[in-house]
Amino acid sequence: MKARTKFLVGSGMIVATLCMLAYVGFTQSKTYYHTISELPALQGASLHQRIRVSGNVRAGSISHREDRVDFVLEEQGKTLPVSYIGRDPLPDTFKDGAQALVEGQIKPDGSFVAEQVQAKCASKYQASPTGSPAGTQPGQTMNGAGGSGIANKS
């Protein structure tokens, strides 16, 4: 066999192995993203998927229990009770009003059991949404070099 053919055969075997591994890894970790409003409509196989949901933490709803943390997520008027049962500490950014992303499964009673919670990293690229310190004027920004009087949001 020419060296080139041998190489292609070898590559083929490597790629095939990797595809298999990728497929197994995919099925083990694939997580479906749903909004809170979509959750009640799920049925059948979808109920057993790993699901990711995002929403805002309702102020005052965080409650630490012995082996879990309960809180309520809300988005577009809908709410979702969540129980976090993971072992890692909750992120520092997780608090009232924070935008959170939970990953886990939905229970038959409609509540959510989360194995993982992420909260939005205090964004570098956006002014802090969690309340402004005293003195900040709400306003719009104007391009300094232009000065035509028409404001545009940056």
Partner: protein, 687 residues
């Protein structure tokens, strides 16, 4: 003053446009005067953007809160060091920072080569000008750093406003490491523009391959080194500051920085095939193009918020600009390739599977497979939403399942590759070179096994790490021994001499060794232990060889923050060995909480303790203790990689021409039996 800054930016854009258009016209009409003025315009961009950066920094240092960007990212009490770093803490400023670093690179590339490669440099100038034009357009019209605060009074007329105090820099970013990580990463990302410019220019100008490949390789090493440092700093920051016990979570933004690094690594290896055997020309050119496109994709993923991530930011329109830019780049690259593909024909073929070429080919294959897997996994939510109705994401199990075997295979190639000869290796040479390093590896694996290491990947990693280390050692030793006997010096001097005669090769071996250390460090995570407990004063928990006793927990408060702190005493073998003070701080101004991890790091393991808050029912502090083996090897390995890269970039000491007919078979590059002549390797770095 803000007018000064924005004006400088506008001039910079005009200069870049002139460099682009004038450069193209100069090439087309062959007018040297035009080409030269275009080049000067390209270099002038650096000066102008520097003025803009200086203006913005001036606003930070003078607490000028009429500027929107300064008001959003700084406050009066912020230490000067962080006021400086606040430049890159937001969208507009970091884009300006990007343009600035890009202009530094472009200036250097144009300046250092002003008297060389006269047929190539005009094209390089045009490509660089094109990229700079894009970013400066963003700086001037899309994400303007010099926007002024304004508010409307009762008539609806806008007037300038100012705030008394700025919003301040996020406390999570007020950490020296967090300050160095973006510049390093940006130096990596922007650095990949230079090899891209040279490769595209060479293709457009049909410049001889042997010449441009040297230049490109050197610049790629610089960018690659910065990218490596940036990635490792990010990982270390995540580990030391965020307090979740790990350093890598396959987050989309992390992956984005890894992608150009992977293809950059592939390029640094496959380029050797083009230099030595004239092979892989098409592949190399596309690899460089892809590396640059991935670095643009990286910044697109980070800024546009199109993939949700812990780092992700608001959905913003800037993503569209980057997508269009990517499309333009791809079209230009493809057009350049298509028009000039005959110029890229290979000189040689693959002769044997047991050859250095083949090991480079496999190296590139698996690196690209890893890149593809990571890219696919990262973009999956977007792709799945286009093709199916659901938005599906994949997590660490996917990435780890694919990348761990790839990494181990790469480790194998790292040991095998240098021992194989170009074209074809004889069986004798194979047996001679491989036998004892492989034996050493297997013995190490056996020892590990008897000590209870059963995790299969960790075991394989151990075997291969020892194997690779022994091959590296043997490479240094064999070469040095020849020099030592011939020049009658000791072996250590000989090693130094050997290295300086071929810095790229031996510097490369040092980099490989650094990567081995990093892999060992990562493999340690297979043996991580952790335990979480409510602890009241007087209680203790045991982890590994340590017993941790909670002595106290208290609250500390000052102007900047309030903190809950646990005082822990750590015992080992009955003796008290250290005190740890993990804390949780609430920064008053910004209402951001931050975990201060208490880490005790040794070569063998890290004892990593987190104050996870108070249990609201019992009031007891919750302590989460981790024992993470070998983490320090990762950071140490990273330092070795950087040192190796620096070494590889040094120019060679002029190798003496060998007049004696010495069989240099100990260099491991025994050419196939038909050629018994002296093998003389003079690899020069000079471009």
């Amino acid at each position: 003053m803000d007018i000064f800054g924005s004006f400088a930016l506008l001039l910079a854009l005009l200069a870049a446009v002139y460099a682009l258009v004038g450069g193209i016209v100069g090439i087309a009409t062959r007018r040297a005067v035009l080409t030269k003025s275009a080049r000067n315009a390209g270099m002038a961009v650096f000066g102008l953007v520097t003025l803009a950066v200086a203006a913005l920094e001036y606003f930070f240092f003078t607490d000028n809160f009429t500027m929107a960007y300064v008001a959003e990212h700084s406050n009066r009490a912020l230490p000067l060091f962080y006021k400086f770093a606040a430049l890159w803490s937001g969208q507009e400023g970091s884009l300006l920072f990007w343009s600035w670093l890009l202009s530094i690179y472009a200036f250097s590339a144009l300046f250092l080569n002003r008297k060389k490669h006269p047929e190539l440099m005009p094209y390089v100038g045009v490509v660089l000008a094109g990229v700079q034009t894009f970013f400066l357009t963003l700086n001037n019209f899309v994400a303007t750093p010099f926007s002024v605060l304004a508010s409307a009074n009762s008539n609806g007329v806008f007037h300038l406003a100012r705030v008394a105090e700025g919003s301040g820099l996020n406390p999570l970013l007020q950490y020296p490491e967090m300050v160095i990580h973006p510049p390093m990463l940006y130096l990596g990302y922007t650095g990949f523009t230079i090899p891209f410019a040279f490769a595209l220019a060479a293709l457009l100008g049909r410049y001889p391959g042997e010449k441009w490949i040297h230049i490109t390789r050197r610049w790629t090493m610089v960018a690659w080194c910065f990218q490596s440092v940036g990635i490792l700093l990010g990982a270390h920051w995540a580990y030391a500051v965020l307090g979740w016990g790990g350093y890598w979570s396959w987050d989309p933004v992390e992956n984005a920085s890894l992608l150009p690094w992977i293809t950059g690594t592939a390029f640094l290896h496959s380029v050797m095939m083009q230099e030595k055997r004239g092979m892989m020309k098409v592949w190399n050119v596309w690899l460089v193009f892809t590396t640059f496109m991935l670095s643009i994709l990286g910044t697109l993923l980070t800024r546009s918020g199109v993939i949700s991530s812990v780092h992700a930011f608001a959905q913003s329109g800037i993503g569209t600009w980057f997508v269009c830019f990517l499309a333009i780049i791809f079209i230009v690259c493809f057009w350049a390739y298509w028009m000039n593909r005959d110029y890229l024909r290979s000189d040689n073929q693959l002769d044997s599977l047991v050859s250095r070429e083949s090991s480079f080919l496999f190296n590139n294959l698996v690196l690209l497979a890893a890149c593809f897997a990571v890219l696919w996994g990262t973009l999956f939510p977007v792709l799945s939403e286009w093709f199916t109705r659901s938005k599906i994401s994949v997590g660490p199990p996917f990435f780890n399942k694919v990348n761990v075997p790839i990494a181990l295979f790469l480790l194998l190639l790292t040991g095998v590759g240098p021992l194989l000869a170009w074209r074809k290796t004889s069986f004798d040479a194979l047996r001679r070179n491989f036998a004892w390093p492989l034996a050493g590896g297997v013995v190490a694996g056996g020892i590990g096994f008897t000590f209870g290491f059963r995790e299969i990947y960790a075991l394989i990693c151990l075997v291969l790490s020892v194997f690779v280390t022994l091959t590296i050692f043997s490479e240094f030793y064999r070469g040095a021994r020849v020099i030592a006997t011939r020049e009658h010096t000791n072996i250590l001097t000989a090693i130094g001499d050997l290295t300086m005669r071929n810095t790229r090769r031996y510097g490369g071996y040092v980099v490989h060794f650094g990567m081995v250390l990093v892999f060992i460090g990562i493999a340690g995570s297979a043996f991580n232990k952790d335990i979480q407990m409510d602890m009241s004063p007087g209680q203790s928990l045991a982890i590994g060889p340590y017993t941790i006793l909670c002595q106290n927990f208290d609250q500390v408060a000052n102007d900047n923050y309030q903190s809950e702190r646990a005082t822990l005493e750590v015992f080992r073998d009955g003796h008290s060995v250290m005190m740890l003070y993990p804390q949780r701080r609430l920064y008053l101004a910004s209402q951001v909480t931050e975990t201060m991890v208490a880490v005790q790091s040794s070569a063998l393991h890290d004892l990593y303790v987190v104050y996870a808050g108070q249990n609201p029912d019992t009031g007891k502090p919750v302590i989460h203790a981790y024992l993470n083996p070998l983490v320090k090897w990762i950071w140490f390995g990273g330092v070795v990689v950087v040192l190796g890269t620096g070494l590889a970039m040094l120019p060679n000491r002029r190798a003496a021409i060998l007049l004696k007919a010495v069989q240099e078979k100990s260099w491991g590059n025994a050419v196939a039996a038909t050629s018994p002549a002296v093998v003389r390797r003079v690899e020069s770095h000079d471009d």
